[in-house]
Amino acid sequence: MKTIITATGNTEDALFDLRYGRAKYFCIYDKETNSSKFIKNEHADAQGGAGTKAAEQTVELGVKQVISGDFGPKAKEILEKFNIQMVVLNDDTSSIKDIINKIK
């Protein structure tokens, strides 16, 4: 199962990003292979619709779970429709590595 964790940077030492649509990077963690890769969020600075774009990208990547700090109404609607689990963490002191270690 693949999980997206929103990240402020592109390594596992980067801090968790509380924003979803406007997160700097998406860390895609694969539980089966215990591996992670990072993709840049191209829409982080978009004028509007960043949440929708992020949700669409999440669906395209075949991710089943997203861990972030907040989900806007539009993003929620899409993720809900595609049965993707949303996990809300209000923790801006954890690194991506910390979170991976918890969920693996």
């Binding site: 779970q65 861990i67 109404p73 993720l79 809900e80 689990q85 949303m86 996990v87 809300v88 979170i99």
Partner: protein, 132 residues
């Protein structure tokens, strides 16, 4: 007999218990009670920039009802600012979005998509889960 109020769907409760003013003159102890659904209406319209139609749908209420709740929220906030009053978040007539749960141990909130049967905290794996 008072009319039964239909519950209003709220995505999540506000993250604050209260806002307290720092007054220049002598403080008054009165406070304004802001309902969860009023907070939600204000958030959807003015923070998420949704139009009233979509916001009403999300809260599972009619557009006029949404407009009324939104108006009440604005008036309360304005009154609190002008009269230097504390704003307290109170439950009101809110119900929470279905399929959302909270871990009672680590407080993580999460949605439970249909078809996913195992109900456990995705972060700390605890089974002590409360419905929101």
């Amino acid at each position: 007999m008072p009319r039964k109020t239909r519950p209003r769907k709220v995505v999540e409760p506000p993250k604050f218990k209260a806002y307290k003013p720092v007054c220049l003159e002598n403080e008054n102890n009165e406070c304004i009670e802001l309902f969860y659904e009023e907070y939600e209406a204000l958030k959807l319209a003015d923070y998420d920039n949704m139009n009233h139609c979509d916001a009403a749908k999300l809260m599972d209420i009619s557009r006029p009802t949404f407009a009324r709740i939104y108006e009440a929220a604005r008036r309360k906030i304005a009154k609190a600012l002008v009269e230097c009053k504390e704003i307290k978040a109170v439950y009101g007539n809110a119900i929470f979005d279905k399929n959302w749960f909270q871990c009672t141990l680590c407080k993580t909130r999460f949605s439970q998509p249909e078809g996913l049967e195992l109900l456990e905290c995705p972060i700390c794996k605890a089974k002590e889960i409360a419905k929101m």
